[in-house]
Symmetry: C2
Subunit: 223 residues, 2 copies
DNA sequence: TCAGTATGCGAGCGATAGCTCACAAATGAT
DNA sequence: ATCATTTGTGAGCTATCGCTCGCATACTGA
């Protein structure tokens, strides 16, 4: 079922029409992956769906793993782009506002292609690309850690490393769970709720944080 | 990669020595699953590792999926046992203490067999057994929802469904991330930190919640 | 002792997976 | 028009998978 792993694509350069081929392959991979999951997504099926031959597929992606890794790469870049576009603006504002914007940003980033995101996270085995994801998380955590440092005096939390871990974990997990499992939960009430969790944790519950009442909803996260 | 799915084991009853066989198979499945992941864990390999023939394996488990499903079932039961054993005692105490105990309980439950837990969560495709997990989460959320209701007057959160979702999500995710990715983080400081997150969120930051200072640690969650 | 049943075995079947390679078509430079 | 290079093709190889089935062996009660 699983083969040897090559490391280099048979052809590196992409010129002219070949870009279209590569794009078709990646699009088809997304479709099949979302529809069938990693296991049942065979390279033959993907090539067929892309309207190219398997030969072509293997000219650009040396293995099934590499193919999926490329998808992961691309998807992470898109999420990253959403975040990097705004991140600079946030740092100056009061904590409450900064956190709120950051949460909103996270929700947006996760909403880029939720279905693909879901398969990628849930089904893709430990291919090398997983390191990419963990590296990304590490970067975000470091960034948060830095921010906390700069606001140290306004915070009641003492261990900033632990706090960064906790904050990133909370936002990631809740966003993730909501986007993937209960998309109807998303929206401003959700953003405010998560914001209030984080702000109260960091500041010990500043009085200005009293949340607007939110409408009734059912709650059941995934994992 | 994937075959038809049968529904009934070829033999139902387990008597005497056959229990040992079943046990060996499940133990081997755990080992191989942890070592190789779901894809590369072939039934032949598992039978070999268990020291039994594939024939025997298929006498007790009608398919690979059923085999893994049985593992999931068993693992969930063990986690459940840990929780059920203590859950009754918690409800009476003040919020702070109840939450703290619950968090500790969650950590313990996740520590039953972390490596197996990791594969099961990360790698096992949507086999029927996944419903089991989601059902479990739903139960827990309902329980929390109920508890929140009973403490309604002491809380500042208004939407209890949303709050239950948030609380369960937070505890699950942080415990999960810590157990799987940064086990060295676990311990009393971690429990206190998570507790304080939850309590401040629910109560708006009661003054008694000021945490003991925790020692320096690095923080980087997984997903 | 010996039939009858529960348990265990493993060669091998059909299916399908990932992937290769010899070749053909398209493209671009001259 | 010619040729070199890039790009595309798909029949088919090998490996391995999940799983079956006819048979051997161990155990049980009479």
């Amino acid at each position: 079922m699983t083969r040897k792993i090559r490391t280099k694509p048979r052809k590196e350069a992409l010129q002219e029409r070949s870009k279209a081929t590569v794009d078709a392959i990646l699009k088809a991979t997304t479709r099949i992956l979302v529809k069938d999951g990693y296991d049942r997504a065979s390279t033959n099926k993907i090539a067929l769906a892309a309207g190219v031959s398997i030969g072509s597929l293997y000219q650009y992606f040396p293995s099934k793993e590499a193919l999926v890794a490329a998808l992961v790469e691309r998807h992470m870049s898109e999420m990253n782009a959403v975040i990097q576009a705004e991140i600079g603006r946030l740092m100056g504002a009061p904590i409450q506002e900064t956190v709120e914007s950051a949460v909103r940003l996270m929700v947006e980033a996760h909403s880029v292609d939720p279905k693909l995101h879901k398969v990628l996270v849930e089904q893709v085995p430990r291919i090398g690309a997983l390191d990419r994801i963990e590296g990304f998380e590490a970067e975000v955590t470091a960034l948060v850690r830095h921010y906390l440092e700069s606001k140290r005096e306004e915070l009641v939390v003492r261990d900033l490393d632990l706090a960064a871990f906790v904050v990133v974990g909370i936002v990631e997990a809740l966003t993730h769970a909501a986007v993937l499992g209960r998309p109807e939960l998303l929206g401003e009430p959700f953003v405010h709720e998560v914001t209030s969790v984080v702000v109260r944790y960091l500041t010990g519950g500043s009085p200005s944080t009293n949340p607007r009442p939110t409408r009734g909803r059912k709650g059941t996260p995934l994992s």
